[in-house]
Amino acid sequence: MNKLTTKNITVFYDGSKVIDDISIELRQGEIVSILGVSGVGKTTLFNVISGLVMPDGGTVELDGKNITGTTGNVSYMLQKDLLLPYKTIIDNVSLPLIIRGEKKSKAKEYTARYFEEFGLSGTENKYPKQLSGGMRQRAALLRTYLFSNQVALLDEPFSALDNITKGNMHQWYLQVMEQIKLSTFLITHDIDEAILLSDRIYIIAGKPGKITEEIVIDERKPRHKDFIVSENFMNYKKHIIKSLE
């Protein structure tokens, strides 16, 4: 059964259509990339799914329940880590639980259990500016996970990192996802990243943005680093480059 489905989402902005008739689906435990050039409406789509923006047409369903235009159901993570500079890492990460009405001490106690799994041990009482970019993204992902373990929307989460850190983060990410099995929509404009991380890829293109193709990455998980230099990988890449033209 589908975890999350969007049906015929259409959004107008200032009188012009930004995204048109987008129907996509996400199954339990899947990582699905939405790949497209900048300005094609990927973030608008995420704003609709997260409930921040009411679509002009179409619905969003979570576990078969209509959640169109309501927030708090799916978690959202942006390119900027958006860790609050005045809170320690553990306070930042506990924030979704505190927003939900959990007591601060209880929220922190619950959160602390995940620090090791996410490779964040020892950072609990540090402030965000004391951490490197990669570590901050890890904390942001943990916060995202604690916000909702149902569905996560990641909007170019690794694009602000340098290439080497990014490579390490991809490995770390795949490893964590193996354990937590978080159903994820991932926005990216990085073809390699999309192929490496995804079970499926939706290609979004045009003006207004439309889904032009769905590609299944049929490579078993956990994926090895060498996957990105394999022939299979290159074939996927060739295909995607062609369909983005």
């Binding site: 609050l84 005045y86 809170k87 927003i99 951490l131």
Partner: protein, 258 residues
């Protein structure tokens, strides 16, 4: 060795100018270039301060009480106004111009009116201090609220946060830095405001003391009280800096290598 010397020079240089000025002043006065009744020497001023110390403390207590009460009310008022202006655009548009206008009226001009309306007690003094101190607080807080990261607010909203939660977790902490800049100004305004209001009437306070010693041409005491007031303002400003450091621990951390 050379570096150490440089370090010492750097540390003492701010005091150097003060020492030079005091020395010249002392010389001018004690050699009789400027007559003593016009300009008392620094030593005379210190002596006057010591002799009148118990009296000065008594007056200072009154002034500080007024300043503290006025500042507290002014800060609370500034906070409420800033929150309302941030929350309701129409409130911002209608109140902001009036607020700016209140600041163009010189305090010395409204102080006598306040005495006429509210008498010689503590009320007109506190009112004056409130009028002068709420403004820096309101403006700096408002700026701080507006500087809050909209993406962070959106993220919290996506988590299902309500307006109050967004305010507590994002807007308020984002405004702390600006708030303390405003408070620093307001603190010194509060002392000056108290003194000015005391000039115009009242029975205790450093302003009253000032008026009395001026009328008796005790310029040494006059200088003593002026320096005393400056010192109080400085100490209070330091206190604000300390408070800021204590309430914003994240500002004092350094980046570590991973």
């Amino acid at each position: 060795m050379k570096k150490k010397l440089q370090n010492i020079i750097n540390k003492i240089s701010p005091y150097f100018a003060i020492v030079v000025i005091l020395t010249i002043w002392q010389l001018l006065s004690s050699t009789g270039v400027v007559p003593k009744y016009m300009l008392p020497s620094p030593i005379d001023v210190v002596m006057a301060f010591i002799n009148d110390f118990p009296l000065l403390m008594e007056h200072a207590q009154a002034t500080l009480t007024e300043a503290f009460l006025g500042l507290t009310i002014g800060t609370a008022l500034g906070f409420v106004i800033a929150v309302l202006m941030d929350r309701f655009n129409f409130f911002y548009k209608s109140v902001y111009p009036i607020m700016v206008m209140t600041q163009t009226v010189p305090t010395v001009a409204i102080a006598p009116l306040l005495v006429l309306w509210l008498g010689y007690g503590i009320l007109p003094k506190i009112t004056l201090i409130v009028i002068t101190t709420f403004f820096p607080i309101a403006v700096s807080l408002l700026e701080g609220f507006k500087s809050a990261d909209t993406d962070a607010i959106n993220l919290l909203k996506a988590m299902g946060a309500n307006r109050l939660q967004c305010f507590i977790h994002i807007k308020l902490p984002s405004a702390l830095n600006q708030f303390f800049s405003g408070l620093r100004i307001s603190v010194s305004y509060s002392v000056v405001g108290a003194v000015v209001s005391e000039w115009l009437g009242g029975f205790t306070g450093l302003g009253v003391y000032m008026t009395r010693v001026r009328k008796s041409y005790s310029f040494d005491k006059m200088f003593a009280v002026i320096f005393f007031i400056s010192a109080i303002s400085l100490i209070l400003m330091f206190a604000v800096s300390f408070l800021k450091k204590a309430s914003m621990p994240w500002e004092n951390t350094k980046k570590e290598n991973y």
